[in-house]
Symmetry: C2
Subunit: 250 residues, 2 copies
């Protein structure tokens, strides 16, 4: 049995808490939530002061990046502490002699459940015992567990920002434009899903189509003529130029 104390109850904390409760061989002993707002169906003790932490094998800090160092400072040196951030280095937890990182490579939103078994979990630890503990935990959650050091994790996180944050923002911009014109993003739903699927199956380099790829300046001009927002116009030009540069260099 691995006894886990979960520190933080934001987007990731909430998804993780529900998942940990389902797992055999895992006991979620408490949730630290300063606001004390948790889902009562979880039936786990909630604390709002780090001084009241229970005994656990592993303390998982699922808090915002800026709060990680503070958590580390407030926890005893001999607690095994890991954080869940894509960007924060392992050594921010230097106060703890057994420290690690447990980073699920996914974007978590409230009210939208995710299939944890498909999420790559990136592990890092400064000692074999902690790594072995993290591996045991991660293997219960996901089929895809990898060892990633802090620098690689930061690069992966940047890659994730491009394919998630920025791609999603393009969906938002598309939705915004279509609404302005009395149209709905619904008609583009199959295209959104197929675009992601195709990139995964055949690779994005082989999936690229469209006016920029073809060097079809006439269509590009007509699109620019439709766009009212100056920032979107600038983005359209920059992305089209980048597609053209990548097309040529292939």
């Amino acid at each position: 049995m691995i006894k886990i104390s979960l520190l933080g109850y934001g987007n990731l904390g909430q998804h993780l808490a529900r998942k940990l409760q389902e797992l055999e061989g895992i006991q979620l002993v408490e949730i630290y939530s300063p606001s004390q707002k948790t889902d009562k169906s979880l039936n786990v003790p909630v604390i709002n002061d780090l001084k009241n932490l229970s005994d656990a094998d592993l303390y998982i800090a699922a808090v915002s990046d800026d709060a990680i160092a503070e958590i580390s400072q407030k926890l005893p040196k001999d607690y095994t502490l890991v954080h869940t951030s894509g960007t924060v280095a392992l050594d921010v937890l230097e106060r703890q002699s057994k420290r690690g990182v447990f980073y699920p490579l996914q974007s978590f939103s409230k009210g939208h459940s995710v299939a944890f078994d498909q999420i790559p979990i990136c592990l890092e630890a400064n000692n074999a015992e902690t790594m072995e503990l993290l591996e045991r935990l991660a293997a219960k959650i996901s089929q895809k567990v990898v060892h990633i050091n802090s620098q690689d994790r930061l690069n992966l996180h940047l890659g994730a920002v491009l394919v998630n944050n920025f791609a999603n923002h393009l969906y938002t911009l598309s939705n915004h434009h279509l609404k302005q014109k009395g149209l709905s993003l619904d008609l583009l739903h199959p295209l959104i899903l197929e675009t992601a699927k195709k990139a995964v199956v055949i690779g994005p380099e082989w999936s690229q189509t469209g006016p920029a790829k073809r060097g079809d300046l006439k269509t590009i001009e007509r699109h620019l003529g439709l766009i009212e927002d100056e920032q979107l116009k600038e983005m359209y030009n920059l992305l089209s130029d980048s597609i053209r540069a990548h097309t040529k260099s292939k």
Copy 2:
């Protein structure tokens, strides 16, 4: 029985030819392919001169945007002619008294099959008879058939460029960056798929996460420090600024 002559055998033409051959009540009478390169398994006559066109109920010009007007000029006035472009206006076919548009809202790539029944097909025609013919055909291919005029179609096409061409290019840029750092896009595959799915299920406005959304300037600075390519740096800044602007205006 609807007799169809398919003019053009590019990405869309190839997918459409295979689909048309499967359909009950449809006879694909010929394919016009100037290069005469077609898949022999199709078992359809191939012509390379528009003077040799057979008799058909419908001529579908699945050619590049620039070639549509030329096709229209070379075809008899009394042929029912439609094109398949997202950006070209119906009236480019003004020589034909019965004209229309049959625009499947999807990105087609060679060697990657798509489920036509999920693809919205946008129809336009200048007369009821042609519209009825297009509706009969479209209903055999897809569950989602809509009437869209030329101006709306152009706006939808712009929306499609954002969610497909540009999103896919972000995947390419992410892949490129990860490769430079000795990492693989494979680890981001689940995130790519989940990002698309979540935007479709809960909407992109509710799916946005990440440093720009949070106003996390520290992480943004660290990402910028990793990017070597100036164009990517510019894009990162512009997209982050746009996310922040949209976050504030909500």
